[in-house]
Symmetry: C2
Subunit: 244 residues, 2 copies
DNA sequence: ATGTGTCTGTGCGATAAAGCACACAAGATG
DNA sequence: CATCTTGTGTGCTTTATCGCACAGACACAT
Protein backbone atom coordinates (compact mmCIF):
# COMPACT_ATOMS: atom_id res chain seq x y z
CA UNK A 1 0.00 0.00 0.00
CA UNK A 2 1.45 3.39 -0.94
CA UNK A 3 2.64 5.55 1.87
CA UNK A 4 0.25 8.37 1.04
CA UNK A 5 -2.74 6.14 1.49
CA UNK A 6 -1.33 4.78 4.71
CA UNK A 7 -1.08 8.28 6.00
CA UNK A 8 -4.68 8.97 5.14
CA UNK A 9 -5.66 5.85 6.93
CA UNK A 10 -3.70 6.77 10.01
CA UNK A 11 -5.55 10.04 10.22
CA UNK A 12 -8.88 8.30 10.02
CA UNK A 13 -8.39 7.48 13.65
CA UNK A 14 -9.69 10.52 15.44
CA UNK A 15 -7.34 10.24 18.37
CA UNK A 16 -4.25 10.19 16.18
CA UNK A 17 -5.63 12.89 13.95
CA UNK A 18 -6.06 15.08 17.00
CA UNK A 19 -2.36 15.14 17.80
CA UNK A 20 -0.46 18.35 17.17
CA UNK A 21 1.99 18.12 14.30
CA UNK A 22 5.13 17.88 16.40
CA UNK A 23 3.80 15.07 18.57
CA UNK A 24 2.51 13.19 15.58
CA UNK A 25 5.86 13.53 13.86
CA UNK A 26 7.50 11.97 16.90
CA UNK A 27 5.23 8.95 16.74
CA UNK A 28 4.63 8.32 13.11
CA UNK A 29 7.60 6.09 12.44
CA UNK A 30 6.48 3.78 15.20
CA UNK A 31 3.08 3.26 13.68
CA UNK A 32 2.48 0.05 11.83
CA UNK A 33 -0.38 -0.46 9.46
CA UNK A 34 -2.40 -3.66 9.96
CA UNK A 35 -5.48 -5.20 8.49
CA UNK A 36 -7.88 -6.91 10.88
CA UNK A 37 -10.12 -9.79 9.86
CA UNK A 38 -13.60 -10.37 11.21
CA UNK A 39 -13.43 -12.45 14.35
CA UNK A 40 -9.71 -11.93 14.85
CA UNK A 41 -8.74 -11.79 18.50
CA UNK A 42 -6.32 -8.97 19.29
CA UNK A 43 -5.80 -10.31 22.74
CA UNK A 44 -7.29 -12.84 25.09
CA UNK A 45 -8.30 -12.15 28.65
CA UNK A 46 -5.11 -12.30 30.68
CA UNK A 47 -2.73 -12.05 27.73
CA UNK A 48 0.12 -9.64 28.06
CA UNK A 49 -0.49 -6.99 25.45
CA UNK A 50 2.17 -6.39 22.85
CA UNK A 51 0.64 -3.51 20.91
CA UNK A 52 -1.82 -0.72 21.22
CA UNK A 53 -4.27 -0.53 18.31
CA UNK A 54 -5.83 2.56 16.81
CA UNK A 55 -8.64 1.35 14.53
CA UNK A 56 -9.17 3.31 11.36
CA UNK A 57 -11.92 1.36 9.62
CA UNK A 58 -12.14 -1.72 11.84
CA UNK A 59 -14.38 -1.99 14.88
CA UNK A 60 -13.22 -3.93 17.89
CA UNK A 61 -15.30 -5.22 20.79
CA UNK A 62 -14.22 -5.72 24.35
CA UNK A 63 -15.91 -8.94 25.33
CA UNK A 64 -16.12 -10.42 28.75
CA UNK A 65 -16.39 -14.20 28.98
CA UNK A 66 -17.87 -15.74 32.08
CA UNK A 67 -16.80 -19.05 33.54
CA UNK A 68 -19.90 -20.71 32.11
CA UNK A 69 -19.12 -19.41 28.64
CA UNK A 70 -21.72 -16.65 28.58
CA UNK A 71 -20.42 -13.47 27.01
CA UNK A 72 -21.18 -9.79 27.25
CA UNK A 73 -19.66 -6.78 25.60
CA UNK A 74 -18.41 -4.14 27.95
CA UNK A 75 -17.02 -1.68 25.45
CA UNK A 76 -16.31 -1.03 21.83
CA UNK A 77 -13.71 0.96 19.95
CA UNK A 78 -13.65 2.06 16.35
CA UNK A 79 -11.97 4.97 14.63
CA UNK A 80 -12.72 7.19 17.58
CA UNK A 81 -10.92 5.03 20.07
CA UNK A 82 -8.12 2.64 20.79
CA UNK A 83 -7.56 -0.85 22.10
CA UNK A 84 -4.94 -1.63 24.70
CA UNK A 85 -5.49 0.73 27.58
CA UNK A 86 -3.81 -1.68 29.95
CA UNK A 87 -0.47 -0.84 28.36
CA UNK A 88 -0.30 2.71 29.60
CA UNK A 89 -2.41 2.14 32.69
CA UNK A 90 0.21 -0.23 33.97
CA UNK A 91 -1.59 -3.53 34.15
CA UNK A 92 -0.31 -4.94 30.83
CA UNK A 93 -3.43 -7.10 30.78
CA UNK A 94 -7.16 -6.87 31.13
CA UNK A 95 -9.78 -9.41 32.02
CA UNK A 96 -11.56 -9.03 28.70
CA UNK A 97 -11.04 -10.27 25.18
CA UNK A 98 -10.63 -7.87 22.29
CA UNK A 99 -12.23 -9.26 19.16
CA UNK A 100 -12.68 -7.71 15.74
CA UNK A 101 -16.35 -7.16 15.18
CA UNK A 102 -16.13 -5.49 11.84
CA UNK A 103 -13.22 -6.19 9.54
CA UNK A 104 -11.05 -3.28 8.53
CA UNK A 105 -7.77 -1.57 9.18
CA UNK A 106 -5.95 -0.26 12.16
CA UNK A 107 -2.64 1.26 13.08
CA UNK A 108 -0.67 -0.25 15.85
CA UNK A 109 2.33 0.62 17.95
CA UNK A 110 4.63 -1.51 20.04
CA UNK A 111 3.96 -1.50 23.75
CA UNK A 112 7.39 -0.23 24.72
CA UNK A 113 7.24 2.65 22.25
CA UNK A 114 3.80 3.53 23.49
CA UNK A 115 4.87 3.62 27.10
CA UNK A 116 7.81 5.83 26.23
CA UNK A 117 5.53 8.22 24.36
CA UNK A 118 3.02 8.22 27.18
CA UNK A 119 5.69 9.09 29.72
CA UNK A 120 6.54 12.24 27.79
CA UNK A 121 3.22 13.69 28.84
CA UNK A 122 1.91 16.27 26.41
CA UNK A 123 -1.24 16.06 24.36
CA UNK A 124 -0.74 12.39 23.62
CA UNK A 125 -0.90 11.45 27.27
CA UNK A 126 -3.84 13.72 27.81
CA UNK A 127 -5.75 12.17 24.92
CA UNK A 128 -5.05 8.64 26.07
CA UNK A 129 -6.25 9.41 29.57
CA UNK A 130 -9.31 11.29 28.43
CA UNK A 131 -10.21 8.47 26.11
CA UNK A 132 -9.86 6.05 29.01
CA UNK A 133 -12.25 8.11 31.04
CA UNK A 134 -14.74 8.12 28.21
CA UNK A 135 -14.42 4.37 27.98
CA UNK A 136 -15.17 4.17 31.70
CA UNK A 137 -18.35 6.10 31.08
CA UNK A 138 -19.25 3.69 28.32
CA UNK A 139 -18.67 0.72 30.59
CA UNK A 140 -20.58 2.29 33.47
CA UNK A 141 -23.47 3.06 31.21
CA UNK A 142 -23.46 -0.53 29.99
CA UNK A 143 -23.67 -1.67 33.60
CA UNK A 144 -26.64 0.53 34.31
CA UNK A 145 -28.30 -0.25 31.01
CA UNK A 146 -27.99 -3.98 31.62
CA UNK A 147 -29.84 -3.52 34.86
CA UNK A 148 -32.57 -1.16 33.91
CA UNK A 149 -33.43 -1.22 30.22
CA UNK A 150 -35.18 -3.58 27.84
CA UNK A 151 -33.47 -5.66 25.20
CA UNK A 152 -34.99 -3.50 22.49
CA UNK A 153 -33.64 -0.29 24.00
CA UNK A 154 -30.24 -1.87 24.37
CA UNK A 155 -30.27 -3.10 20.81
CA UNK A 156 -30.93 0.47 19.65
CA UNK A 157 -28.10 1.79 21.78
CA UNK A 158 -25.79 -0.86 20.41
CA UNK A 159 -26.72 -0.20 16.79
CA UNK A 160 -26.20 3.51 17.23
CA UNK A 161 -22.81 3.18 18.89
CA UNK A 162 -21.72 0.91 16.08
CA UNK A 163 -23.12 3.13 13.41
CA UNK A 164 -21.06 6.01 14.74
CA UNK A 165 -17.92 4.17 13.80
CA UNK A 166 -19.06 2.82 10.48
CA UNK A 167 -18.50 4.35 7.07
CA UNK A 168 -21.74 2.92 5.68
CA UNK A 169 -25.26 2.16 6.87
CA UNK A 170 -24.82 -1.57 6.44
CA UNK A 171 -23.69 -3.66 9.35
CA UNK A 172 -22.64 -7.26 8.73
CA UNK A 173 -23.81 -9.00 11.85
CA UNK A 174 -26.20 -11.83 12.71
CA UNK A 175 -28.73 -11.74 15.49
CA UNK A 176 -26.78 -14.47 17.17
CA UNK A 177 -23.61 -12.42 17.31
CA UNK A 178 -25.46 -9.40 18.60
CA UNK A 179 -26.98 -11.61 21.27
CA UNK A 180 -23.46 -12.54 22.39
CA UNK A 181 -22.53 -8.89 22.58
CA UNK A 182 -25.57 -7.87 24.54
CA UNK A 183 -25.47 -10.95 26.72
CA UNK A 184 -29.02 -11.98 25.85
CA UNK A 185 -30.66 -14.78 23.86
CA UNK A 186 -30.62 -14.85 20.11
CA UNK A 187 -34.44 -14.97 20.07
CA UNK A 188 -34.58 -11.85 22.17
CA UNK A 189 -32.56 -10.02 19.55
CA UNK A 190 -34.70 -11.41 16.74
CA UNK A 191 -37.85 -10.17 18.40
CA UNK A 192 -36.44 -6.74 19.14
CA UNK A 193 -34.97 -6.44 15.65
CA UNK A 194 -38.26 -7.59 14.14
CA UNK A 195 -40.06 -4.85 15.99
CA UNK A 196 -37.59 -2.21 14.84
CA UNK A 197 -37.90 -3.43 11.28
CA UNK A 198 -41.69 -3.31 11.46
CA UNK A 199 -41.41 0.30 12.50
CA UNK A 200 -39.12 1.04 9.56
CA UNK A 201 -36.07 1.92 11.65
CA UNK A 202 -33.88 -0.85 10.29
CA UNK A 203 -33.98 -3.53 7.65
CA UNK A 204 -32.17 -6.83 7.74
CA UNK A 205 -31.63 -9.94 5.72
CA UNK A 206 -29.54 -12.86 6.79
CA UNK A 207 -26.69 -11.23 8.56
CA UNK A 208 -26.81 -7.71 7.21
CA UNK A 209 -28.54 -4.92 9.04
CA UNK A 210 -29.23 -1.62 7.32
CA UNK A 211 -29.89 1.50 9.34
CA UNK A 212 -32.85 3.27 7.79
CA UNK A 213 -33.86 5.87 10.32
CA UNK A 214 -31.16 7.04 12.67
CA UNK A 215 -33.28 9.65 14.34
CA UNK A 216 -35.95 7.05 14.98
CA UNK A 217 -33.40 4.73 16.51
CA UNK A 218 -32.24 7.48 18.82
CA UNK A 219 -35.79 7.94 20.02
CA UNK A 220 -36.24 4.21 20.53
CA UNK A 221 -32.95 3.91 22.42
CA UNK A 222 -32.59 4.59 26.09
CA UNK A 223 -30.81 7.67 27.37
CA UNK A 224 -27.62 5.66 27.63
CA UNK A 225 -26.57 6.25 24.05
CA UNK A 226 -26.73 9.98 24.37
CA UNK A 227 -24.94 10.00 27.69
CA UNK A 228 -22.02 8.06 26.28
CA UNK A 229 -21.60 10.17 23.15
CA UNK A 230 -22.05 13.42 25.01
CA UNK A 231 -19.40 12.42 27.48
CA UNK A 232 -17.03 11.46 24.69
CA UNK A 233 -17.56 14.82 23.08
CA UNK A 234 -17.07 16.64 26.33
CA UNK A 235 -13.84 14.84 27.07
CA UNK A 236 -12.31 14.81 23.63
CA UNK A 237 -14.35 17.29 21.64
CA UNK A 238 -11.85 20.10 21.92
CA UNK A 239 -9.28 17.92 20.24
CA UNK A 240 -11.25 16.26 17.53
CA UNK A 241 -14.26 18.47 16.92
CA UNK A 242 -13.09 19.32 13.44
CA UNK A 243 -12.95 15.65 12.47
CA UNK A 244 -16.45 14.57 13.28
CA UNK B 1 -7.06 15.59 66.50
CA UNK B 2 -3.40 15.12 67.37
CA UNK B 3 -0.99 14.98 64.51
CA UNK B 4 0.22 11.51 65.35
CA UNK B 5 -3.25 10.06 65.03
CA UNK B 6 -3.79 11.91 61.78
CA UNK B 7 -0.67 10.31 60.44
CA UNK B 8 -1.90 6.88 61.43
CA UNK B 9 -5.15 7.59 59.71
CA UNK B 10 -3.48 8.70 56.53
CA UNK B 11 -1.62 5.44 56.34
CA UNK B 12 -4.84 3.50 56.74
CA UNK B 13 -5.44 4.24 53.10
CA UNK B 14 -3.57 1.52 51.31
CA UNK B 15 -2.73 3.59 48.28
CA UNK B 16 -1.09 6.33 50.31
CA UNK B 17 0.62 3.80 52.54
CA UNK B 18 2.14 2.23 49.47
CA UNK B 19 4.07 5.34 48.51
CA UNK B 20 7.81 5.33 48.98
CA UNK B 21 9.00 7.62 51.75
CA UNK B 22 10.31 10.38 49.52
CA UNK B 23 7.13 10.64 47.47
CA UNK B 24 4.98 10.59 50.56
CA UNK B 25 7.09 13.33 52.10
CA UNK B 26 6.46 15.47 49.04
CA UNK B 27 2.72 15.09 49.36
CA UNK B 28 2.02 14.98 53.01
CA UNK B 29 1.65 18.68 53.62
CA UNK B 30 -1.03 18.86 50.96
CA UNK B 31 -3.15 16.24 52.66
CA UNK B 32 -6.13 17.44 54.60
CA UNK B 33 -7.94 15.32 57.10
CA UNK B 34 -11.75 15.23 56.77
CA UNK B 35 -14.58 13.41 58.43
CA UNK B 36 -17.38 12.17 56.19
CA UNK B 37 -20.96 11.75 57.38
CA UNK B 38 -23.31 9.03 56.21
CA UNK B 39 -25.13 10.15 53.10
CA UNK B 40 -22.79 13.07 52.43
CA UNK B 41 -22.33 13.74 48.75
CA UNK B 42 -18.70 14.34 47.78
CA UNK B 43 -19.73 15.40 44.33
CA UNK B 44 -22.77 15.36 42.11
CA UNK B 45 -22.84 14.05 38.59
CA UNK B 46 -21.42 16.81 36.43
CA UNK B 47 -19.85 18.78 39.26
CA UNK B 48 -16.34 19.98 38.75
CA UNK B 49 -14.26 18.16 41.31
CA UNK B 50 -12.27 20.19 43.77
CA UNK B 51 -10.50 17.45 45.71
CA UNK B 52 -9.39 13.90 45.44
CA UNK B 53 -10.37 11.77 48.46
CA UNK B 54 -8.46 8.88 49.95
CA UNK B 55 -10.85 7.17 52.37
CA UNK B 56 -9.31 5.78 55.54
CA UNK B 57 -12.31 4.47 57.44
CA UNK B 58 -15.15 5.82 55.30
CA UNK B 59 -16.67 3.94 52.37
CA UNK B 60 -17.87 5.88 49.36
CA UNK B 61 -20.17 4.69 46.59
CA UNK B 62 -20.18 5.78 43.00
CA UNK B 63 -23.86 5.96 42.16
CA UNK B 64 -25.36 6.46 38.80
CA UNK B 65 -28.76 8.16 38.68
CA UNK B 66 -30.99 7.61 35.67
CA UNK B 67 -33.34 10.21 34.27
CA UNK B 68 -36.29 8.42 35.86
CA UNK B 69 -34.62 8.50 39.27
CA UNK B 70 -33.58 4.85 39.37
CA UNK B 71 -30.13 4.39 40.80
CA UNK B 72 -27.37 1.83 40.50
CA UNK B 73 -23.95 1.62 42.01
CA UNK B 74 -21.14 1.27 39.54
CA UNK B 75 -18.21 1.27 41.91
CA UNK B 76 -17.13 1.63 45.48
CA UNK B 77 -14.02 2.87 47.21
CA UNK B 78 -12.88 2.43 50.77
CA UNK B 79 -9.47 2.44 52.34
CA UNK B 80 -8.07 0.56 49.38
CA UNK B 81 -9.10 3.16 46.86
CA UNK B 82 -9.73 6.78 46.08
CA UNK B 83 -12.50 9.03 44.83
CA UNK B 84 -11.94 11.60 42.13
CA UNK B 85 -10.32 9.84 39.21
CA UNK B 86 -11.62 12.46 36.83
CA UNK B 87 -9.11 14.92 38.24
CA UNK B 88 -6.04 13.21 36.92
CA UNK B 89 -7.74 11.61 33.95
CA UNK B 90 -8.47 15.06 32.63
CA UNK B 91 -12.23 15.21 32.60
CA UNK B 92 -12.63 17.11 35.88
CA UNK B 93 -16.09 15.57 36.11
CA UNK B 94 -17.82 12.24 35.93
CA UNK B 95 -21.40 11.28 35.23
CA UNK B 96 -21.84 9.64 38.61
CA UNK B 97 -22.49 10.81 42.13
CA UNK B 98 -20.09 10.00 44.96
CA UNK B 99 -21.98 9.42 48.18
CA UNK B 100 -20.74 8.34 51.57
CA UNK B 101 -22.14 4.92 52.28
CA UNK B 102 -20.43 4.34 55.57
CA UNK B 103 -19.44 7.26 57.75
CA UNK B 104 -15.79 7.64 58.59
CA UNK B 105 -12.68 9.55 57.75
CA UNK B 106 -10.73 10.37 54.66
CA UNK B 107 -7.78 12.38 53.57
CA UNK B 108 -8.18 14.79 50.72
CA UNK B 109 -5.97 16.85 48.49
CA UNK B 110 -6.70 19.87 46.34
CA UNK B 111 -7.20 19.19 42.66
CA UNK B 112 -4.38 21.44 41.51
CA UNK B 113 -1.90 19.88 43.92
CA UNK B 114 -2.95 16.46 42.81
CA UNK B 115 -2.49 17.23 39.16
CA UNK B 116 0.95 18.62 39.84
CA UNK B 117 1.91 15.50 41.76
CA UNK B 118 0.49 13.27 39.04
CA UNK B 119 2.50 15.05 36.37
CA UNK B 120 5.71 14.21 38.20
CA UNK B 121 5.19 10.59 37.26
CA UNK B 122 6.85 8.20 39.68
CA UNK B 123 5.15 5.67 41.88
CA UNK B 124 2.31 8.02 42.68
CA UNK B 125 1.24 8.25 39.06
CA UNK B 126 1.67 4.54 38.61
CA UNK B 127 -0.53 3.79 41.61
CA UNK B 128 -3.24 6.17 40.52
CA UNK B 129 -3.34 4.67 37.05
CA UNK B 130 -3.26 1.11 38.29
CA UNK B 131 -6.05 1.84 40.71
CA UNK B 132 -8.05 3.32 37.86
CA UNK B 133 -7.60 0.15 35.88
CA UNK B 134 -8.75 -1.93 38.82
CA UNK B 135 -11.80 0.30 39.12
CA UNK B 136 -12.51 -0.33 35.46
CA UNK B 137 -12.47 -4.02 36.17
CA UNK B 138 -14.87 -3.48 39.02
CA UNK B 139 -17.23 -1.51 36.80
CA UNK B 140 -17.00 -4.03 33.97
CA UNK B 141 -17.73 -6.83 36.33
CA UNK B 142 -20.73 -4.96 37.64
CA UNK B 143 -21.99 -4.63 34.07
CA UNK B 144 -21.64 -8.33 33.43
CA UNK B 145 -23.03 -9.27 36.83
CA UNK B 146 -26.09 -7.09 36.29
CA UNK B 147 -26.79 -8.97 33.13
CA UNK B 148 -26.12 -12.53 34.14
CA UNK B 149 -26.47 -13.14 37.85
CA UNK B 150 -29.27 -13.38 40.37
CA UNK B 151 -30.08 -10.78 42.98
CA UNK B 152 -28.89 -13.11 45.69
CA UNK B 153 -25.52 -13.64 44.06
CA UNK B 154 -25.13 -9.94 43.58
CA UNK B 155 -26.05 -9.25 47.16
CA UNK B 156 -23.29 -11.60 48.28
CA UNK B 157 -20.79 -9.91 46.01
CA UNK B 158 -21.82 -6.53 47.33
CA UNK B 159 -21.58 -7.58 50.96
CA UNK B 160 -18.14 -9.06 50.42
CA UNK B 161 -16.75 -6.04 48.62
CA UNK B 162 -18.02 -3.85 51.42
CA UNK B 163 -16.73 -6.12 54.10
CA UNK B 164 -13.27 -5.89 52.61
CA UNK B 165 -13.17 -2.22 53.46
CA UNK B 166 -14.79 -2.42 56.86
CA UNK B 167 -13.07 -2.62 60.19
CA UNK B 168 -15.88 -4.62 61.78
CA UNK B 169 -18.41 -7.27 60.75
CA UNK B 170 -21.36 -4.96 61.26
CA UNK B 171 -22.67 -2.99 58.34
CA UNK B 172 -25.20 -0.22 59.00
CA UNK B 173 -27.41 -0.42 55.98
CA UNK B 174 -31.10 -1.04 55.29
CA UNK B 175 -32.45 -3.33 52.63
CA UNK B 176 -33.86 -0.30 50.91
CA UNK B 177 -30.47 1.36 50.59
CA UNK B 178 -28.90 -1.82 49.32
CA UNK B 179 -31.67 -2.04 46.74
CA UNK B 180 -30.71 1.41 45.50
CA UNK B 181 -27.11 0.33 45.20
CA UNK B 182 -27.88 -2.85 43.35
CA UNK B 183 -30.55 -1.22 41.25
CA UNK B 184 -33.22 -3.72 42.30
CA UNK B 185 -36.41 -3.64 44.37
CA UNK B 186 -36.28 -3.48 48.13
CA UNK B 187 -38.36 -6.67 48.34
CA UNK B 188 -35.82 -8.45 46.20
CA UNK B 189 -33.12 -7.59 48.69
CA UNK B 190 -35.31 -8.63 51.63
CA UNK B 191 -35.92 -12.02 50.08
CA UNK B 192 -32.28 -12.58 49.20
CA UNK B 193 -31.13 -11.38 52.61
CA UNK B 194 -33.72 -13.58 54.30
CA UNK B 195 -32.39 -16.56 52.46
CA UNK B 196 -28.81 -15.78 53.44
CA UNK B 197 -29.88 -15.34 57.04
CA UNK B 198 -31.72 -18.65 57.02
CA UNK B 199 -28.53 -20.29 55.90
CA UNK B 200 -26.60 -18.64 58.71
CA UNK B 201 -24.37 -16.53 56.47
CA UNK B 202 -25.56 -13.20 57.81
CA UNK B 203 -27.80 -11.82 60.50
CA UNK B 204 -29.67 -8.56 60.39
CA UNK B 205 -31.98 -6.43 62.49
CA UNK B 206 -33.47 -3.17 61.38
CA UNK B 207 -30.67 -1.65 59.43
CA UNK B 208 -27.67 -3.52 60.71
CA UNK B 209 -26.25 -6.49 58.91
CA UNK B 210 -23.70 -8.73 60.58
CA UNK B 211 -21.46 -10.97 58.52
CA UNK B 212 -21.40 -14.37 60.16
CA UNK B 213 -19.78 -16.65 57.61
CA UNK B 214 -17.49 -15.00 55.13
CA UNK B 215 -16.41 -18.22 53.50
CA UNK B 216 -20.03 -19.17 53.03
CA UNK B 217 -20.77 -15.83 51.45
CA UNK B 218 -17.93 -16.31 49.02
CA UNK B 219 -19.41 -19.62 47.97
CA UNK B 220 -22.85 -18.10 47.54
CA UNK B 221 -21.48 -15.19 45.52
CA UNK B 222 -20.86 -15.32 41.82
CA UNK B 223 -17.38 -15.43 40.38
CA UNK B 224 -17.46 -11.64 40.04
CA UNK B 225 -16.28 -10.97 43.55
CA UNK B 226 -13.16 -13.04 43.15
CA UNK B 227 -12.37 -11.60 39.74
CA UNK B 228 -12.47 -8.07 41.08
CA UNK B 229 -10.33 -8.71 44.13
CA UNK B 230 -7.85 -10.82 42.21
CA UNK B 231 -7.43 -8.09 39.66
CA UNK B 232 -6.92 -5.50 42.37
CA UNK B 233 -4.24 -7.66 43.91
CA UNK B 234 -2.58 -8.26 40.59
CA UNK B 235 -2.49 -4.57 39.75
CA UNK B 236 -1.58 -3.16 43.13
CA UNK B 237 -0.41 -6.12 45.14
CA UNK B 238 3.28 -5.45 44.66
CA UNK B 239 2.80 -2.08 46.29
CA UNK B 240 0.47 -2.85 49.13
CA UNK B 241 0.84 -6.53 49.82
CA UNK B 242 2.30 -5.89 53.23
CA UNK B 243 -0.73 -3.88 54.29
CA UNK B 244 -3.48 -6.34 53.63
C1' DA C 1 -31.39 -29.19 -8.87
C1' DT C 2 -30.31 -30.90 -4.69
C1' DG C 3 -28.56 -30.97 -0.50
C1' DT C 4 -26.53 -28.63 3.53
C1' DG C 5 -25.49 -25.39 6.72
C1' DT C 6 -26.84 -20.95 8.46
C1' DC C 7 -30.07 -17.43 9.77
C1' DT C 8 -34.51 -16.03 11.40
C1' DG C 9 -39.52 -16.67 13.11
C1' DT C 10 -42.54 -18.63 16.36
C1' DG C 11 -44.69 -21.07 19.97
C1' DC C 12 -44.69 -23.07 24.10
C1' DG C 13 -43.74 -23.46 29.50
C1' DA C 14 -40.66 -22.02 33.30
C1' DT C 15 -38.64 -18.51 36.02
C1' DA C 16 -36.93 -14.37 38.00
C1' DA C 17 -38.00 -10.12 39.07
C1' DA C 18 -41.17 -6.05 38.95
C1' DG C 19 -45.01 -3.57 40.76
C1' DC C 20 -48.31 -3.05 44.14
C1' DA C 21 -50.66 -3.54 48.55
C1' DC C 22 -50.58 -4.18 53.11
C1' DA C 23 -49.49 -6.34 57.69
C1' DC C 24 -46.51 -6.33 61.30
C1' DA C 25 -42.78 -5.07 64.36
C1' DA C 26 -38.98 -2.33 66.36
C1' DG C 27 -37.49 1.97 67.72
C1' DA C 28 -38.00 6.84 68.17
C1' DT C 29 -40.79 10.76 69.70
C1' DG C 30 -43.84 13.18 72.15
C1' DC D 1 -47.54 5.13 77.27
C1' DA D 2 -49.48 6.31 72.85
C1' DT D 3 -48.24 7.48 68.50
C1' DC D 4 -45.39 7.79 64.44
C1' DT D 5 -41.82 6.53 61.54
C1' DT D 6 -39.11 3.29 59.63
C1' DG D 7 -37.70 -1.33 58.37
C1' DT D 8 -39.01 -5.90 57.06
C1' DG D 9 -42.18 -9.95 55.63
C1' DT D 10 -45.59 -11.70 52.52
C1' DG D 11 -48.92 -12.41 49.05
C1' DC D 12 -50.63 -11.42 44.59
C1' DT D 13 -50.62 -10.30 39.63
C1' DT D 14 -48.00 -8.91 35.65
C1' DT D 15 -44.09 -8.71 32.81
C1' DA D 16 -39.71 -9.67 30.60
C1' DT D 17 -36.72 -12.83 29.55
C1' DC D 18 -35.03 -17.53 29.37
C1' DG D 19 -34.68 -22.24 27.66
C1' DC D 20 -36.01 -25.28 24.41
C1' DA D 21 -37.93 -27.07 20.14
C1' DC D 22 -38.65 -26.80 15.62
C1' DA D 23 -40.07 -24.89 11.10
C1' DG D 24 -39.22 -22.22 7.29
C1' DA D 25 -36.17 -19.50 4.35
C1' DC D 26 -32.23 -18.22 2.16
C1' DA D 27 -27.36 -18.86 0.31
C1' DC D 28 -24.02 -21.54 -1.31
C1' DA D 29 -21.64 -25.63 -2.96
C1' DT D 30 -21.55 -29.62 -5.65
Amino acid sequence: MPLAQQKDDVLMNHLLAALPADEFARLKFDLEFVSLALGEVLYESGDKLTHIYFPTTAIVSLLYIMENGATAEIGIAGNNGLIGIALFMGGETTSSRAVVQSAGNAVRMKGAKLKAAFALGGVFQDILLRYTQSLMTQISQTAVCNRLHSVEQQLCRWLLINHDQMQTDKLVMTHDLIANMLGVRREGVSIAAGSLQKRGLIKYVRGTITMLDRAGLEVAACECYQVVTDEYDRLLGEYISKNR
